[in-house]
Every structure is written in structure tokens, then in C-alpha cells.
């Protein structure tokens, strides 16, 4: 158990030990250095691949940089232009918010529903768990996004099926009102990852609680609301935070489905796609870096708010009685 190591040694007052504090400190230090040795590869990676690029990107966000000429310091101009003088920036924020607000609840709801069904399954749970998880492994790939694009194109499977039942909507990809939902559906389809976490969380809940509730005459719905939901709330919270963070960064499916253009008419121009367009198509790397930092700040703020509100609805069993 990890708690053992942090406990004070249960020894009587030291009479023979001359330098107990410094020795203990040395012991701690001696115990810690192998950890740093083993962490070195990771730390070098974090430094070179994450921290240094982050620092450079912070610097670039205050410059005008077109990849060819040296960066030119412009102070806060990128930020002020973005916030006050770029209608497309705000349109991309709106599109991304719509996506987050629709996709995250749908995905988590589906994940929880399927996890609840799987928990009560007596046989073949491992098979179904793998089967439902598979899209999460495949979904991030280019090929699946291409298949998705083909499904929802004009003359694709979806428009054929809808045609046959009398709904002549045409391809969704070419319709600015529907294109964003093609990306939403692709995301929701990958509900496997949160589902596995929900399933693990559901299995952690002591059956004693359900037994006791059943004895008291609680029905299934009552049990779900009064036992499952509060006991699962840390897992819900965990999934919610992760999914929101990931959803703000949606890129690959939108890039592939819209052919890299965020179209039609900017209807799938998500924040990251616009960032990418500013940086790599229009060569405004400074502006793109500033956008990346605004995204970081926004996600951090939203995460912070979630953590604040979580105190009122997330129930941690290990904090009981504190």
C-alpha cells in the first residue's frame, strides 16, 4: 500500500540516533534519484518536444511570422485582431462550441447507456466491449474519415437510404446545415473509450449497495438515480473533462471530410482547422500561435469552471467524512 511509505516511522524517541532529520532527508534523496534516472527519457522528450515548442509558440504569438522572413515583434496585435477584427475567428468559435455542446453529451450518454447494458450482460461481455471499443481505435485514422465522407456524400449510402424512405436531403457533406453533424456522428460513433471507463466504474460500485436498495424496495430506475449516478459521478466527471478538452481540439475528421477547407461555406471550419489554415495555408504563423494560446486559455478556463462546479455534484468516496 502506498500509504505505508508516507507514515512516520513508528519508532520510540531516538536516543541512539544522532542525526535523525538529515539522515532521513538523505535517505529520501537516495531513494529518489533512481526515479529521476528512469524519468530522464520522458523528461528530455517533454522538454524538447513540448516545453520548448510551447515557449517558442508563446513568443511567436506576439510576432508577425510568415515562415520566410524572421519573426517581427508586433506585441498584442495578433490577439487584438483576433478578438476585435476577424469575423471568421468568431464564426469558428461558434462552430466549435456547437460541436462541443452537441457531440460531448451525445457521446457520453451513449457510452453510459451501452456500459450499463454491458454490465448486466452475463455472457459475451468481453466480446461486446471489444466490438464497441474498436471504433475508438479506428476512428482517428484518415481512412475512416474518408469512408465517412463517402457515406455522407451525394450518392453515398446515407443519401441512398434516406432517398428510399422518401427523404431527399442529398449528401450531407455538401449541405452547410448538415455537414457539421457528419463530424459529430463520427465522434459519437467512437464512444468506446469513455464506455470502457464507465464500465470499469460501474463494476467498482459495491453490489451490497444494490442489494440493500433492492431489499428496501427500490426499482431499477431508483437504483440508477440514487446509487449508480452518485457513485459513478467521479467517472462521469473524468470523462466529461477529457471529452470536452478533446472536442475543442477536433481536427482530423473535419479536415478530411471537408477536404481540408472547412467547407461548405465555413460550416465545418472548427477552431483548429481555422488555426491550421491561418498558419499553413496563409502563412500567418504568429496569428496561428496566438490562436493556439487563446484555445489553451479557453480550455483551461472551462476546465477550471468544471472543477469548481464539480464540488457540488461529484461524490468522492475517499473524501467521505473529511
Amino acid at each position: 500500500m502506498s500509504t505505508v511509505s508516507t507514515r512516520a516511522p513508528a519508532r520510540p524517541a531516538p536516543t541512539t540516533d544522532r542525526h535523525p532529520p538529515s539522515r532521513r532527508r538523505r535517505q529520501v534523496r537516495e531513494r529518489q534519484w533512481p526515479a529521476y534516472v528512469f524519468l530522464t527519457p520522458w523528461m528530455i522528450g517533454a522538454l524538447v518536444l513540448t516545453l520548448v515548442p510551447m515557449a517558442v509558440s508563446l513568443y511567436l504569438s506576439f510576432t508577425d511570422y510568415n515562415l520566410f522572413d524572421p519573426p517581427h515583434w508586433v506585441g498584442l496585435r495578433n490577439y487584438t485582431e483576433m478578438l476585435t477584427d476577424d469575423p471568421r475567428y468568431w464564426r469558428s468559435v461558434g462552430t466549435t462550441m456547437l460541436y462541443v455542446v452537441v457531440a460531448v453529451p451525445l457521446k457520453l450518454g451513449l457510452a453510459l447507456a451501452v456500459a450499463t447494458l454491458l454490465k448486466n450482460l452475463d455472457r459475451g461481455r468481453a466480446f461486446y466491449r471489444s466490438a464497441f471499443y474498436a471504433p475508438s481505435l479506428l476512428g482517428a485514422s484518415m481512412s475512416i474519415a474518408l469512408v465517412w465522407r463517402a457515406l455522407f456524400n451525394d450518392g453515398g449510402t446515407v443519401s441512398d437510404i434516406l432517398d428510399s424512405v422518401g427523404i431527399h436531403a442529398g449528401g450531407w457533406v455538401g449541405n452547410p446545415d448538415l455537414a457539421v453533424y457528419v463530424v459529430v456522428l463520427l465522434t459519437v460513433w467512437q464512444f468506446g473509450a469513455p464506455m470502457v471507463i464507465f464500465l470499469a466504474g460501474l463494476q467498482q460500485i459495491s453490489p451490497d449497495l444494490y442489494e440493500a436498495a433492492a431489499l428496501d424496495g427500490a426499482g431499477r430506475w431508483r437504483q440508477f438515480v440514487s446509487i449508480t449516478v452518485p457513485m459513478l459521478s467521479p467517472v462521469v466527471f473524468f470523462n466529461l473533462v477529457l471529452e470536452i478538452i478533446n472536442s475543442f481540439q477536433v481536427f482530423t475528421p473535419a479536415f478530411v471530410i471537408s477536404g481540408g477547407k472547412g467547407g461548405p461555406a465555413d460550416s465545418t471550419m472548427f477552431y483548429t482547422l481555422y488555426l491550421y489554415e491561418r498558419g499553413f495555408t496563409a502563412s500567418h504563423m504568429g496569428y496561428a500561435a496566438a490562436m493556439a494560446w487563446m484555445l489553451l486559455i479557453a480550455i483551461a478556463a472551462i476546465t477550471l469552471i468544471l472543477f469548481r462546479t464539480s464540488r457540488s455534484w461529484v461524490f468522492y468516496a475517499d473524501e467521505e467524512g473529511r
Binding site: 518536444l49 515548442p53 452547410p176 466504474g201 461555406a265 496563409a282 484555445l295 489553451l296 472543477f307
Partner: protein
């Protein structure tokens, strides 16, 4: 203290925090780390790097030409790399930014100003003066497409021209005469309406129209503009057209689409290849396109598809010969002499001409073009003859390379016209938005 139940530990709050922190840090790095550059070291002798974009056929032919160069220049090794267009442009930009520009690189027309102005390309003036690179068999006007502020920074590798792929069988059925180099935009409008009036149906049962909708295509707009004596750019920092020009063009296209004479919005936004274009899907009789991709149309749609000139304004042709791609030398090349020799070899060697043939459209070297043309058949022969017809008809001189902001303007052009098509903006509103955006791009 509560007893911990063995094996049942709810998710601790700290774990959620840690996961959130990791997720957040990827916010910054995930999109931008998608690109990375790989650079190799020089082996013994001289190693040149050469990169281009294009399909497998072009790659195989180019490799063959490069191997021939290596054979004739012992001690010189050429390391090649190629990719598809979009990825290539982004990779090259990242390489150039990191000082790792290849010794020899195929360039897009739109890259010339950006790369030359940003100091990523070497001036070719000296190599041309001492005849390491020979240009005597190339048209002077055409060479101008690779200049920046008076200096030569790139040379055209192929010559392309806009045109109009159309189904001659449908035109005959509708009683429309074969389009001549002098046919006008009014003739085109009439043709589209007559075809729509035939009442033909597409394979999925929708009305068959006259042509694709060129409203979002900057090339079509440029042709239209030039036929009225205008130009896309007045200088490297200034547009050459006004809000009224663009409003007129978009109003024209928008009206024809609303009247059902040309393809619907949803079909235009999904067109990104011959197969997905309205003509390719049996939804229209014609497609504004380039000469180089034209041979794929008859392959897909049958021999009744032919190549015609784009419409004119009162006989004035807006089409012009444009470099389908150019070639340049990296500013920091360690072996500029060998790089220049490779460029000259690719452009002027007769055997290379035979190997590459029309894989980069018409070769700019006249002698090589004439020699290769003799072997051409079918659609390839048709586009070669088309180019000759247009040359005889008389075209205005091509403009200099578009300014660096053109890449952004071109994407804005597509997007703003999509806003018109979906009724999100009137032609005038969209034109104003485009001009505002273009001005911002050109000034920065």
C-alpha cells in the same frame, strides 16, 4: 478512518486533474507538431536533393530522367522525394522555414513570390548568363512567370492553359454550334439554357445542366476579368479589380445557377476531381478545367468529350499560358552549379524530353514540345493542337507571378462564393468581404 475496500478504489480527484493537465498540454502541440522535417547528410561526392509533387506516372518518369543525369555526371547523387500537391506545399514551406529547402524543387506559380521574396530561392540570372541553364528555346513572355522584382528565380517546367471540356454529343443534340476561340460569355449562357431546356436527367434523376458553376473558381474569374481587359493583381500589394467587377461576375454565375442553367450548389462544393465534377457525375454537359487534366475526361466519359476555348468578351480571349509548375534552386544550396546543371538537364535535354513527355503539360522548350507532340494521340494530341490554335488566335501576355497572399485569396474566393450559393450573402456583400480580406492579406 474508513476502511479501504480492497480492489474498489473510486477514481481519485487527483487523477482527474492529472489527466486534464495532460489533455490540455496537447492542445498546443498536437496540431502544430504534425509537420516535421527530415534532413540527411551529404555522402561522398555531391548529393543533390530534388523534390516535386505529382502522380505515380510523373514520379516514375522523373526518376528515370534523374538516373540518366546521374549517369552523365559521375560523383553526383540525386536524392528525390515526391508527394501529393497539398502535402508537398506545406512540407516545402516548413523545410524552407527551417533552412532545409531542397537543392532543386518543383514550385507552384503561387509560391514564386513568397519563396523568392522570403530569400528561399537562389537567383538564376548568373546561371542563365553563363548558359549553365539555357533558355533560348523558351518564350520570353512565358519566362516572365518565374520572375520576382525583375530577377529570374524559377523557370517554368510545363505550360498549361485553361479550357472547357464539353460533351459534343449533347451540344449537337441541343443545336449549339461547336465553340470557337471567339465565342462569348453570352453564347455560353445561351448554350447552358438550351441544354437545360432539353429536359435531360442525371443518373440520380435530377435535371441535367449546361456546365459546372465557375463562380468559386479564381481561374475562371481571372479569365473572365482578362477578357474584359482587367487583371487579378495590379501589383504585389494591390488587387487589379473592383468590388463592382466581382459583384458582376458573381451575380452572373448566381443568376445562371438559380435559373437551373448550370450545376447546383451542392454539386459544386463536392467537386474536387474529374470523377466528382458535375460532368463526371452526369449532371452537366461541360466543365471549366485545365489542359493537363483534360485527357482523363474522355477516359471517364467517352470520346464525345472535347476541349474548347473558354468564352470571350466580344472576341477578346482571357485565357493565357500559365506555368503548370516551375523549378527553382534553394537559396542555401551547397552545390549551386550541379543544381543548375540538373535544372538545365530536365528542361533542355532531348532524351529527358522523350522520357517526361507531357507529364507536366506542354514542355516549355519549343523544340522538345514539337518533337514530343509527333508521338501524341487522341486527347493528348487534342490539347496540343488546342494550345497551337490559341497561340494563333492571339492571347494577351501572361501576368507576373501572383503575390504571396494569393494562396489565401484563392481559398477566400471559394468560400465567399459558397456563401453566395447558399444564400448567406448577396454577391455584393460577398465581394466586399473578399476584397477586405484580400487587402488585409496583401498588405501584411
Amino acid at each position: 478512518m474508513p476502511e479501504p475496500r480492497s480492489g474498489r478504489r473510486p477514481l481519485p480527484r487527483r487523477a482527474v486533474l492529472a489527466a486534464a493537465a495532460v489533455g490540455l498540454s496537447t492542445a498546443l502541440t498536437s496540431t502544430l507538431s504534425a509537420c516535421s522535417t527530415a534532413s540527411g547528410s551529404t555522402s561522398s561526392g555531391v548529393t543533390l536533393t530534388f523534390s516535386w509533387w505529382g502522380n505515380d506516372d510523373r514520379a516514375a518518369r522523373t526518376e528515370q530522367a534523374v538516373r540518366l543525369f546521374e549517369k552523365e555526371h559521375p560523383g553526383v547523387t540525386v536524392r528525390t522525394s515526391s508527394g501529393d500537391f497539398g502535402a508537398y506545399l506545406q512540407k516545402l514551406a516548413t523545410q524552407a522555414a527551417g533552412g532545409g529547402m531542397p537543392d532543386v524543387a518543383q514550385l507552384d506559380y503561387r509560391q514564386v513570390s513568397q519563396y523568392a521574396g522570403g530569400g528561399a530561392l537562389m537567383s538564376l540570372d548568373d546561371a542563365m548568363k553563363d548558359k549553365t541553364i539555357r533558355t533560348s528555346e523558351m518564350s520570353r513572355d512565358f519566362l516572365r512567370t518565374g520572375t520576382y522584382k525583375g530577377g529570374q528565380y524559377a523557370l517554368p517546367m510545363g505550360r498549361g492553359i485553361t479550357g472547357y471540356a464539353y460533351d459534343a454529343a449533347v451540344y449537337k443534340k441541343a443545336g449549339i454550334p461547336t465553340p470557337q476561340p471567339s465565342w462569348t460569355w453570352q453564347d455560353w449562357e445561351k448554350a447552358d439554357k438550351r441544354i437545360a431546356a432539353l429536359g435531360l436527367k442525371s443518373p440520380d434523376g435530377r435535371p441535367y445542366t449546361g456546365a459546372n458553376d465557375g463562380g468559386g473558381n479564381e481561374d475562371v474569374f481571372e479569365t473572365w476579368l482578362r477578357s474584359r481587359g482587367g487583371k487579378l493583381y495590379a501589383s504585389q500589394t494591390e488587387l487589379g479589380f473592383t468590388e463592382d467587377d466581382l459583384t458582376a461576375f458573381w451575380t452572373f454565375c448566381d443568376r445562371l445557377r438559380r435559373e437551373g442553367a448550370i450545376a447546383q450548389a451542392r454539386d459544386t462544393v463536392q467537386a474536387n476531381s474529374t470523377e466528382t465534377s458535375p460532368i463526371g457525375r452526369g449532371l452537366a454537359a461541360a466543365d471549366f478545367t485545365w489542359d493537363a487534366p483534360f485527357p482523363s475526361y474522355p477516359v471517364l466519359l467517352g470520346d464525345s468529350v472535347h476541349f474548347a476555348p473558354v468564352p470571350t468578351t466580344d472576341g477578346r480571349q482571357g485565357a493565357y499560358f500559365k506555368p503548370s509548375m516551375l523549378i527553382g534552386i534553394g537559396a542555401h544550396s551547397e552545390h549551386p552549379k550541379e543544381a543548375a546543371q540538373l535544372v538545365d538537364f530536365l528542361l533542355n535535354d532531348q532524351r529527358v524530353g522523350d522520357i517526361l513527355a507531357f507529364s507536366r503539360s506542354t514542355p516549355p522548350n519549343r523544340k522538345i514540345a514539337a518533337r514530343v507532340a509527333k508521338t501524341l494521340k487522341g486527347p493528348e494530341r487534342e490539347i496540343y493542337e488546342y494550345a497551337q490554335t490559341m497561340e494563333r488566335y492571339g492571347l494577351d501576355a501572361p501576368p507576373t507571378a501572383p503575390p504571396r497572399g494569393d494562396v489565401a485569396v484563392q481559398t477566400a474566393f471559394i468560400r465567399e462564393y459558397q456563401r453566395v450559393m447558399y444564400g448567406l450573402a448577396t454577391p455584393r456583400q460577398a465581394a466586399r468581404e473578399l476584397i477586405d480580406e484580400a487587402d488585409r492579406e496583401l498588405r501584411s
